[in-house]
Subunit: 340 residues, 2 copies
């Protein structure tokens, strides 16, 4: 795409359920496809020839984010994040502890001016289009004024990374009417409707997440995270249940073989690994959070997502699109409280 | 089952997208199966021989609940609810305006002593067991102390109607740990864990709704309603997408024919119409809310659900299980504010 040199992606080699083997394999796939990756991990790690920055520590999934980030400055995750802050990399990717990524981002990358709360933006593929769900869980408690910023950031993300012109923004609620929802949602609806920087078209309901009826769906972090897990869990549960029913009879088994290509196409379309990761928006640097269960393909796609973000200047677009406003409150200490 | 005469179910003939034809057809199916039904609807309605109480008005789906219920005391919905209050019927079923059912229930049936907020309990069928989601949308804003009552009522419902011994109760959140979630959920977790009347086993995540990992899942009404719509919408969207992929090729089409029985079995298992309706718990009378899109089969099942509730003395069990406590706040006027 770009005539410029490819961005350098700092990759946490120790993040995720299948680290380090799938992480390194994903990095090699990405490099094969033309990306540039530097791994952050322990001395002696077999990187298949990729550059390695040695780190001495690891943050595991169960650790308290803010404490772990402060206590382990030379962990693979924190060092990879710091590489972006120090200008040694253009973006960071990790499949590790989400809360720790957020805490390390707040501490080392810092918030963009005007951003009250960074948020997690997850691209959800559907048949019709990719819908960006924001916030998918960076914040356990969100206020309406935060949610308006989520809408603005989600819109910039949709435009800048997914190439959508004038993205349609909706608010996740329990009915189409503006007065439906809990108090936070009703208030957020009013603020979103009054925000000139976005194309707000009204409320969405839960069913809209997979229906592709919006380019951006805004939610408070609790609702967004719950919705994301419900969506992913239901797809998996349903496909498993269908397989179980199909393989219960011989006729079904034969039918199952014949529909396998169709089922595969569908799974590929809806696969969370297609985009490879969620995007932590609102920081002065680019951070992609890959799913803890990421395969090498997911990691490779997460690296591509991060590269695209750098090439499309998403952080710069966010900085321009979010003029300084009073009342920001995000700090690394808040992360411990969110419990994400 | 019972040696007593069958309960009499008051059925709103004008509620739902397919009223009155599917409603009457569902009533006839239920009567065929041994239930007793009295229809509430306009003079001249062809009831196929079932008794009709004539009403003169109708509440439509878009009306403001509390206003409509007060303005139209002789609507089919309100008259059917009043029949229970007046002792002319043992339970009421409607596929109409959910908010109006709640408002009419609060006005005419009244809350059980000690109940702060009535709630909607929805039985969700999964492969493993039926999970009762409560509150699925009676309240747009819930406080932690309300959510504990939802847990108690859900537990009584699971035991009394679904026959589960010592039902396992979980709280819908965004992680297993007690400290995960928004402030309301974290506080509700503490109260649920301290409640001796239930078997609380911890948090559930969105994916658990269809996984059958709990007998009862407690949520605030906003989150519960969102989750229910997301679940139903995702199942539908996914099966539609699969059908589309399968019918795109000839091989797929043949395979599709062969797996049809398996797909049907699965759909039957997961079909919301299997239980026919949600249960409005916390009132001094039994009310079942059927889905707006209910077919005759759903209506027949909703009538059976209501009958079973009467025969198993669910209202009495709820009255016994919920000792009077201070601080109740539910009134018909609140319904307008919830926006459900």
């Amino acid at each position: 795409m770009s005539a410029h040199p490819k961005p350098v992606i700092a990759l946490d080699a120790l993040g995720g359920d299948h680290a380090p083997s799938e992480i390194v394999a994903g990095a090699l796939m990405a490099v094969e496809a033309g990306h540039r990756v530097v791994l952050y991990g322990p001395a002696g790690l077999d990187t298949g020839g990729l550059p390695l920055v040695e780190t001495t520590d690891v943050i595991d999934m169960a650790e308290k984010p803010a404490e772990a980030v402060r206590a382990k400055p030379n962990s693979s995750l924190v060092a990879a994040v710091r590489a972006v802050a120090d200008g040694n990399a253009d973006a960071v990717v990790s499949a590790g502890n989400t809360g720790a990524m957020l805490a390390a981002g707040l501490l080392h990358l810092r918030r963009l001016p005007g951003v009250a709360r960074p948020a997690i933006a997850v691209p959800i593929p559907s048949r019709l289009r990719t819908t960006v769900l924001i916030d998918a869980g960076a914040n356990a408690d969100s206020r309406p004024e935060h949610m308006v910023q989520f809408g603005v950031m989600g819109s910039i993300f949709s435009k800048g990374i997914l190439g959508v012109e004038n993205p349609e923004v909706r608010l996740l609620s329990i009915g189409e009417e503006p007065e439906k929802g809990d108090q936070t949602t009703i208030e957020a609806h009013k603020l979103l409707a009054a925000e000139p920087a976005i194309n707000f078209v009204g409320n969405a309901e839960g069913r809209d997440l997979l229906r592709g009826t919006a380019d951006v769906i805004v939610a408070d972090g609790f609702t967004g995270n719950m919705a994301l897990k419900l969506l992913e869990g239901t797809i998996k549960e349903l496909l498993d249940a269908l397989r179980e029913e199909i393989t219960a009879t011989t006729t079904g088994k034969i039918g199952g073989l014949l529909i396998r290509p169709a089922a595969k196409r569908l799974r590929h379309k809806l696969d969370p690994e297609t985009h490879g990761g969620a995007y932590l928006v609102g920081l002065k640097g680019l951070a992609v959070i890959a799913h803890g269960s990421s395969s090498r393909r997911a990691i490779a796609n997460a690296i591509a997502l991060a590269s695209r973000g750098v090439e499309n200047r998403v952080v710069e677009l966010l900085a321009e699109g979010l003029p300084e406003r009073p009342g920001r409150t995000g700090s690394p200490e808040n992360v411990r409280d969110t419990g994400v």
